[in-house]
Symmetry: C2
Subunit: 154 residues, 2 copies
DNA sequence: GGATATTGATCAGTATGCTGACTATCAGTA
DNA sequence: TACTGATAGTCAGCATACTGATCAATATCC
């Protein structure tokens, strides 16, 4: 019988599980308390000042109902701000704070270190190949989840 | 600046996200309501009758606090049973029910189909290579998460 | 044998993710 | 302009995952 641990879905879950643990560990060692999800959101807000929540969700493939809580926590930590949009009264414009910028700057080495640690069993070439295959599989399956990746629209 | 979407951690999250969506979709199409996590637990209980919860958690790399809820739901659906152990009065012995066996049997084609769909962007050779690299990275990082994989002990 | 340490299970609390519903608003059209 | 449909954000509810604590029972050590 085929072992459960040999199925792609199970390997996906397990690798993600380790990736999150490594990220949290490295970031905690650096003295910060930020989840992978919060980090990605904050970095994307910094790169796209004033964007709204739906756009942010699309850029990092989060569900729009998940983004609400993530931003709540970024705001609560003083790392980001949520403002009413002047163009569309339904939308909220997101901005990173000075504190958020400082945090991103100081946390970067830990984040990069985490990426290395989670691939530590692989050679550099294998790491590259793993990322290439993941990107390819993800591109083909993008529309299959409720929260697909969406590039910036015109 | 390095794009967030190019980091291994982000790719891991995204692939897992798609894998879960595909699994749930295929299983729902087959007329069942079972999560990937519940499926793995049930299949492992079937393969190891009478095992306790900690052992089960180790075999599929779940946190022991997570397993409680998962089994609650399997029991509630009538697919598994939780009995007091005679050897160790702290432990619970897990068994699959007839209904659980039937469900596993009927759900297998959907589960296998899901594994194919989540790799549909890759050639057969690439799919194999992705799985090999994931297994290797996971093996090296096994101890880094709170819920490592644990083989059956003597 | 009795103190101590460890272990199996559960619980409270927090953070993703999702489904589905809802409100407010905007956009397009008859 | 009034109607219709789509969109931004939020909420309730459920299912993983994890941290850290607790309780009961077992193992270990002096």
């Amino acid at each position: 019988m085929k072992d459960n641990n040999d199925m792609p879905g199970h390997l996906a879950r397990r690798f993600q599980q380790i990736a999150v643990a490594v990220f949290l560990g490295e970031v905690a060692d650096a003295g910060f308390d930020l989840t992978p999800v919060q980090y990605a959101a904050l970095a994307t807000i910094k790169a796209n000042p004033g964007l709204d929540q739906v756009t942010l969700a699309g850029l990092i493939a989060y569900d729009r109902t998940t983004i609400t809580g993530v931003i709540d926590r970024l705001v609560q930590k003083g790392l980001a701000e949520r403002r009413a949009s002047s163009r569309d009264r339904r939308a909220r414009e997101l901005e990173i704070t000075e504190e958020g910028r400082r945090t991103l700057r100081k946390i970067t080495p830990a984040v990069e270190s985490a990426q290395r640690v989670m691939l530590r069993g692989l050679s550099a070439k294998e790491g590259e190949e793993l990322m290439r295959l993941l990107r390819k599989a993800i591109a083909a399956g993008n529309e299959l989840s409720r929260a697909p990746l969406r590039g910036v629209q015109a």
